[in-house]
Amino acid sequence: MAKLHIVTGKGGVGKSTAAAALTRQLLATGRRPVLLVDVQGSGRALEWLGLPGAPFENRPLGIPGGFGSRILPKETFRQYFGKLLALGNETGTLASVTAGLRERVAEKVTDNKIVSAFIDVCPGLEPSVLLGKLHWEAAYGRASDSEPWSDVVVDAPATGHGLALFESVAALVEVFGSGLIFRQASEIMDFVRDPERTKFWIVALPEEVPVRETIELRSELERLRLPRPSLLFNRCRPRAQAQGESGENLSEAWREEVKFERERHDEQARLESELRTKLDAATFVKIPDFVEASAKVVVERFAAAWSQGGST
């Protein structure tokens, strides 16, 4: 059974970069096969690892042993529906439905309009399907050479606090016991609540607002009884070593920047110590700020920094 890694955080903190870097990093340490899944994104994390076109089926990344795909509710629903139907046959939940009918309905469900409307009108179905697919990959999924995944890395959606998926599915489990999808949902929640199977990575920036949001996210995880997260403190600045000069040769605009940069470093130190006490993170990794033109290079350097600082 694979380990499921959920990379989360608010938009703009470097979540996709972190998910790509984690995939790279896992492969570099010899774990394989590793699957990177972009949930409701544009597929750029996949592209940075050499898989363009944002495919919905698992395809090899540009790194040996790595695979990737993108999931959207409606595309995934079609794949997942078939798997659930098979499961329903096994467990007898759908015993009253004849085999011929099952086929006809399965056909109907692959019709675009019906699937769209069905997903739209059923509260909780969309997150159940997305999370269900992730769980399915981690629990039973295999690479093309039929080797089970060692790790499944998830670039989680940026909407809200990033936990909306878990929230809806958890609410469904509480409210509805019956129905094949929701029985699955409770199995899924058990999986993501088990720290041996699921790891949460929160990406944060050394700035006031993202740090506030990270602390809120931490309490959301706790409320949903999800595992203790690890923190990736991204885009950390090096210590500004003032040498007494305030930049006499600099323009006024640059003198402002110098002042700003010095203050920002103090702020970073203050925020870091606050996060270390309040977050109780499983691991706390500091990633420097890379100024690079290409996202690919940033991912490489991110992964390298991670491997050096992973134990801190």
Partner: protein, 356 residues
């Protein structure tokens, strides 16, 4: 044409961009800048950071506009915040008062609330429309949540409204009703009856029953929202609506802004597009060694690399966004914000973005 359709005469500025680029700050700055010029402005933000509310002197969130600034020349700025968690609830109370308690008490409502994609944007634009119709404001500013789909509310009333247009919904609601009345046996040989049986096995019996109740009672809300959607379309489809695209001078945020700009174009929206390049370093050249002396070698070299990268992105923006007006806001000017600094930012934004 529906006689109740009424579109605000006020200007609308829609702020768009990726996460963490400073949309909310610049939206508030713009409202203050307009006020300083004698206009009555209002800014709406969904789920804002507390810090900004504090800067504007607001103690708590409010769904009604609250005065945050009054300028000597008669201009003013108001702000209202929408809490995405309670927005849908207040909408139900407003538009379906009779059934509100039943809708809100439905066990599925909570699940539905957490799931509707694009609902924050939609509820935001619905709210600003309601405020704009009152005629109390000259300029309305809508700060959208960061999303690639931020523009979805423009061409459709959103996820929420598609429900009632789809035949499948009727399928669910009617099938459930018929089943309860004992007609199910007559339907069993039809496709509908068979499919329903399968969905029931799939979702559970109680789920389908509650879903059909929820959707039926929710209907009055949909009807109002649908009418609003037409008005929104007419407002945003006129040249009274402008788009403020916000990006930081970094690869991905710039890509995002270019993407959104294309989306506006694709949708054939006539509104003006303005780019705000936020958190820029000074573009003027650095004398050798000066930055190193002030900040140490490591920080200085990072800043130099950043400056070079920004120069490259500026060229790219010019190539991809053409002659859209561009405001460049210094990184340091966003530091330790207070009302004065925020107004100054707004002044610069209005001038460089040619908002007047």
């Amino acid at each position: 044409m529906n006689p109740s359709i009424e579109v605000p005469k006020a200007r609308l500025v829609v702020t768009l961009g990726g996460g963490g680029v400073g949309k909310t700050t610049l939206s508030a700055a713009l409202a203050l800048g307009f006020a300083e010029l004698g206009l009555r402005s209002v800014v709406l933000t969904v789920d804002p950071a507390k810090r900004l509310a504090t800067i504007l002197g607001l103690e708590s969130l409010s769904i009604e506009p609250r005065r945050v600034f009054e300028a000597p020349g008669g201009g003013s700025a108001d702000a209202l915040w929408l809490d995405s968690r309670s927005a849908l609830e207040s909408l139900v109370r407003q538009y379906a008062p009779q059934t509100a308690d039943r809708v809100l008490g439905n066990r599925l409502f909570k699940v539905l609330q957490g799931q509707l994609g694009g609902i924050e944007e939609y509820l935001g634009v619905e709210r600003i429309l309601a405020v704009g119709r009152g005629g109390d404001f000259d300029v309305c500013i809508l700060d959208t949540p960061p999303s690639r789909h931020a523009l979805d509310f423009l061409d459709s009333p959103g996820h929420l409204l598609r429900f009632f247009d789809e035949s499948v919904l009727r399928f669910f609601v009617e099938s459930e009703r018929l089943t309860e009345k004992g007609f199910f046996s007559r339907l069993i040989d039809t496709g509908r009856g068979q499919a329903l049986e399968l969905f029931r096995g799939f979702l559970g019996k109680s789920f389908l029953g509650e879903l059909s109740t929820l959707l039926t009672e929710f209907r009055p809300v949909y009807e109002v929202l649908k009418r609003r959607a037409r008005e929104i379309e007419m407002w945003t489809g006129s040249d009274r609506t402008e788009f403020l695209l916000v990006a930081t001078p970094e690869t991905y945020p710039v890509e995002e802004a270019v993407f959104l700009s294309r989306e506006i174009e694709t949708r054939g929206l006539p509104g003006r597009r303005v780019l705000a390049l936020n958190k820029c370093l000074p573009a003027d050249p650095l004398p050798p060694g000066a930055l190193e002396a002030a900040l140490g070698a490591e920080t200085a070299s990072a800043l130099r690399a950043r400056q070079a990268n920004e120069a490259r992105l500026r060229a790219e923006i010019a190539a991809r966004l053409g002659d859209a007006p561009r405001a460049e806001l210094a990184r340091a000017s966003g530091h330790e914000l207070d009302l004065n600094r925020l107004t100054r930012l707004g002044r610069q934004l209005i001038q460089e973005g040619r908002f007047l």
